[in-house]
């Protein structure tokens, strides 16, 4: 039997010539997967720890479909038990096999074993948790996600689990590669008609968007709700805050705010708005305006509940009166702590001085440090050092210099020409940046087109289209009959009036 199994397992060869056509490949792979899912669990457990062990015979990179099934059954058998056995412990044999599979599996075959893939990834997380070292799961999960979908732009339930894990273990930097890839597709129900038996639309085809092979029927993801997505964005923003990427955090929070709503808001939006107010100050130096796509009434509701934060933002803008912000921060200390925003608020206070100094560059070309120190009420040495760090960290395009003139002491001199100084960009750099941006925008435009296409597949769109067609048809008919029925045109006018 065991030999039988091996035979079946090796029967699907992705490189063989008879699956060259996409459609053939699709049919074969599909049949193969359903065949494997009919094999009972007992067959899989045969031959463990022998030469005939399927996991040693199969190559995860070539026989990915078979390997995924084998691995899942093997794990299912072990995981049931209370204690995590040694082979499953990170570093154990089975764990290594799992990681190897997640990192090297064939991306195209993975598209056919969505359910298996998801269980494997989820187990990776729970095993690592059970062993008390959840951070070990981060790297395998991340490679699993990028392996399946290099853009990781199709939202899955794995995304959320991954971000939660990263935040819990405070490994924000580890989350960045995934967060940086924006979500361009949400898993939807794709009608079978569009999915099957089309040369260019079968899952194994070289498709533009990963959304075409990852959807609710493919098993790669659990059903995702709006709350899941919002949570992903809020947590993602917090991860960005952890690595001080304020601008990206701001953008993430805005994704939460634009959620479609029937003029009402939820807890995520409130949470996001509070953070957004503070982060916007950090990024732009002033309070910005909410994205236009956001629902007005919903924003009004959450604005009403976030007055304290807006007051902070106002105080932040008053650069000539810095004590006001400090006083307000002190007043609301409890509130910030309760909302988990104390860190952000502290950051706000710290950056106000920076904001003040960089505002000076719009007024002065050179100013003695002692003048700034007078205004800020701090000793000149300290301010001098502070400014030096600002310049070093790239917040100011300026230099500090000593002068012997009129006892000015150390002088802060700004570079007036944008092509000079430490922050200057050469034209080549600019061109490069523009070029990269063009590429990004083009990809994005493709994805938008894709999303638009998906929208035309939804039931609502179809119904609306149907209704439109019907109305047009009816409208024509109605008019015709009206002409025929009405013998007296004047009477017709009266009818219209009524």
């Amino acid at each position: 039997m065991s030999a039988d199994l091996t035979g079946i397992l090796l029967s699907f060869q992705p490189d063989s010539p008879d699956v060259e056509k996409r459609r053939d490949y699709d049919v074969k792979a599909r049949n193969f997967a359903s065949q494997l899912s009919n094999i009972s669990a007992s067959h899989w457990s045969k031959g463990i720890d022998t030469e005939q062990d399927v996991l040693t015979i199969l190559n995860p990179a070539v026989n990915s479909i078979a390997y995924a099934f084998a691995l899942r059954h093997r794990l299912a058998a072990v995981v049931e038990k209370r204690n995590v056995p040694d082979i499953l412990q990170p570093g154990g044999a089975l764990w290594n096999q799992l990681v190897l599979f997640l990192e090297t599996a064939d991306p195209v075959q993975l598209r056919y074993v969505g359910k298996e893939w998801r269980s494997l990834v989820e187990w990776t997380e729970s095993i690592a948790r059970a062993c008390g070292s959840p951070s070990l799961a981060i790297a395998p999960m991340r490679s699993a996600m990028t392996r399946l979908d290099p853009t990781t732009g199709t939202f899955t339930s794995i995304h959320l689990i991954f971000v939660q894990l990263c935040l819990e273990t405070r490994s924000y930097a580890a989350a960045e590669p995934i967060l940086d890839n924006y979500i361009h597709t949400l898993p939807t129900k794709v009608p079978n008609v569009v999915r099957e038996n089309l040369e260019y639309s079968v899952p194994c085809a070289d498709v533009v968007s990963s959304g075409e092979y990852m959807h609710l029927n493919s098993g790669h993801t659990d059903k995702v709700s709006l709350a899941d997505i919002q949570e992903y964005y809020v947590l993602g923003a917090m991860a960005y805050l952890g690595v001080r990427q304020f601008k990206k955090a701001q953008h993430f929070l805005e994704h939460v705010l634009v959620a479609p709503t029937s003029s009402t808001a939820n807890g995520f939006m409130l949470e996001a708005y509070k953070k957004w107010v503070l982060v916007t100050c950090l990024v732009d130096g002033k309070m910005g305006s909410v994205p236009r796509t956001a629902n007005g009434n919903a924003i009004k509701t959450i604005k009403f509940a976030s007055k304290a934060y807006e007051a902070l933002a106002e105080a932040y803008e008053e650069l000539h009166n810095m004590s006001k912000l400090k006083a307000q921060v002190k007043m609301g200390a409890e509130m910030w702590a309760e909302d988990g925003n104390t860190g952000l608020v502290t950051e706000l206070v710290n950056s106000q001085m920076r904001s003040y100094v960089s505002r000076l560059s719009q007024t002065y070309s050179a100013i003695p440090v002692s003048n700034i120190a007078n205004h800020l009420g701090a000793p000149a040495d300290q301010i001098g050092q502070y400014i030096e760090t600002l310049i070093r960290e790239g917040h100011l395009n300026a230099r500090l210099e000593e002068t012997d003139k009129s006892n000015a002491g150390v002088v802060l001199r700004f570079y007036l020409d944008p092509t000079q100084g430490p922050l200057a960009k050469s034209e080549k750099q600019q061109q490069q940046a523009l070029f990269e941006q063009t590429l990004r925008t083009n990809t994005l435009a493709e994805q938008v087109k894709d999303a638009d296409y998906r929208l035309t597949l939804t039931k609502e769109y179809m119904e609306n289209q149907k209704r439109l067609n019907k109305r047009q048809g009816q409208g024509g008919d109605a008019m015709d009959t009206a002409w025929e029925d009405s013998i007296d045109p004047e009477e017709d006018i009266m009818i219209d009036l009524h």
């Binding site: 709006l226 917090m238 939820n266 409130l270 925003n341 860190g343 002065y364 007036l416």
Partner: protein, 468 residues
């Protein structure tokens, strides 16, 4: 004498309230200045001068009281006398003529009763023309006694009884006249618009136009829209100077004189027009030239500004500051206009230079009220009206080098980024909509608050953990 007037309780109180006091004598001669005016505005202007210039206070009050005694406004008379008694208690005019006041009050009451009575009988007779005239008389009466709001009401009542466009036009002008006395500028503008819309034709219309545009300018200026005011004044035809009384009002004497138009229009234009416009629309304006001839120094100031002699221009204006502060309409807004002219001069002055020392700036544009030139420049730069940077070390004002190519590139980049971002936001939204996701109202009642609380809890824990 001036010093004792300045120490009088009246000006002390003024000073304590922080009100304006013009200490130095103005250039004009009170007698000849006030001879330009008659009617209510004469008393109003005298009152303003008296209350703000210790130097002219006594004379102005005397003239005002003498005129008030000829009129019917007892209240105004008593206020004037009271104020004068606080300034110069020994002056013969500072004693209230109680017999006159009592007699006048009685007369006024009698006249009021008589007019009301007449109006009532007209109304009973249902003769439109009589009712209109009755209301008009009542309006005149209220106006004379200083009860402007009732005058306004009485004139308004004339409307339904007007039978010809001429009547309507007269009524509207009366309304304008009353609202100017009330200094309620939005009303003035509304009534002016109505006057303009009356269906007068040909000559009558032509007569009305200069009056309307002059009053419009005044109203716009006092309401703070100086550029529009400048346009209105500049559009006033020279016929205003010789216009016949309309609606029994000699506008150039009882409202604003030709000199006023020259000063108001000139200053507003100087503050809000660039050099080309000043040259083309003010100096080369043949109609407005007639007004400018009345006030040659305004003409000189504009000429100097156009010839880039900014400090000389400011000097001329500075010389007349006191005069204008004693003008009833300019007093409150003069500092705005002057500041604006000064700032504009600085900007214009700086354009051809890449670098000017601050000392040079300070000598060209001396500051008035204890501020340093640095403060002014700093404020102007922060308001983005002056494109420059200050070098406090070398004491220089520097024009920043521009690099349009670099700017365009970086602008394009930021624009592309923001476009990219908003596209992403829309994509997210589109996806959510396509997936049928929506924050629901009914859920927010029980479930929403639940999740809200739950989320809050988890975040709170996380927040304190990660320190953000």
């Amino acid at each position: 004498m001036a010093s004792s007037v300045e120490q009088s309780p009246f000006f002390q109180a003024h000073k304590a309230k922080g009100l304006l006091i013009v200490k130095d004598p103005p250039k004009f001669d009170l007698e000849s200045y006030i001879a330009n005016y008659s009617g209510y505005t004469r008393i109003d202007r005298l009152h303003h001068i008296g209350a703000h210039s210790p130097y002219l206070a006594v004379d102005a009050y005397r003239l005002a009281i003498a005129q008030a005694k000829r009129g019917k406004n007892v209240e105004l008379y008593t206020t004037l006398v009271e104020e004068l008694s606080k300034i110069a208690p020994d002056d013969p005019a500072a004693l209230t003529d109680t017999t006159w006041a009592e007699k006048k009050t009685r007369e006024v009451r009698e006249e009021h009763d008589r007019l009301e009575h007449e109006l009532k009988s007209y109304k009973n007779n249902l003769i439109k023309e009589s009712i209109r005239m009755g209301n008009e008389d009542l309006g005149h009466f209220y106006y004379d006694t200083g009860d402007f709001s009732n005058a306004h009401k009485a004139y308004m009542k004339m409307r339904e009884h007007c039978t010809s466009p001429k009547h309507l036009a007269d009524m509207n002008l009366r309304l304008v006249y009353t609202s100017i006395a009330q200094k309620s500028w939005t009303n003035v503008m509304a009534n002016l618009a109505k006057s303009e819309a009356t269906q007068l034709k040909g000559e009558d219309k032509a007569k009305l136009e200069p009056i309307i545009s002059a009053c419009n300018g005044l109203a716009l200026m006092c309401a703070g829209s100086y550029p529009d005011a400048a346009t209105a004044f500049l559009g006033t035809s020279a016929a205003y100077l010789t216009a016949e009384p309309a609606a029994n009002i000699t506008w150039q004497k009882e409202v604003i004189s030709g000199n006023d138009i020259a000063v108001y229009g000139g200053l507003c234009a100087l503050a809000y027009m660039d050099r080309v416009d000043l040259q083309n629309r003010v100096l080369a304006n043949s109609e407005f030239r007639n007004f400018l001839e009345l006030e040659p120094h305004i003409r000189r100031a504009i000429n100097l500004f156009c010839n880039s002699k900014y400090s000389a221009c400011l000097e001329v204006l500075e010389g007349y500051r006191n005069d204008y502060l004693l003008d009833v309409y300019l007093a409150d807004i003069l500092h705005i206009i002057y500041n604006r002219i000064r700032k504009k001069s600085i900007v214009q002055y700086f354009i051809p230079f890449s670098c000017v020392t601050l000392d040079e700036m300070a000598s060209k544009f001396p500051t008035t009220d204890g501020r340093s030139i640095n403060d002014d420049l700093e404020q102007m730069i922060n308001q983005k009206s002056l494109d420059a940077r200050i070098d406090l070390v070398e004491g220089l004002l520097i024009s920043p080098p521009t690099n349009p190519r670099h700017d365009v590139h970086s602008d394009a980049l930021t624009m592309a980024e923001s476009y990219d971002h908003s596209l992403r936001l829309r994509l997210t939204r589109l996806n959510m909509l396509a997936a049928g996701m929506e924050v629901q109202q009914n859920k927010s009642g029980d479930k929403g608050s639940n999740t809200g609380g739950g989320i809050g809890d988890t975040f709170r824990g996380l927040g304190s953990k990660i320190g953000f």
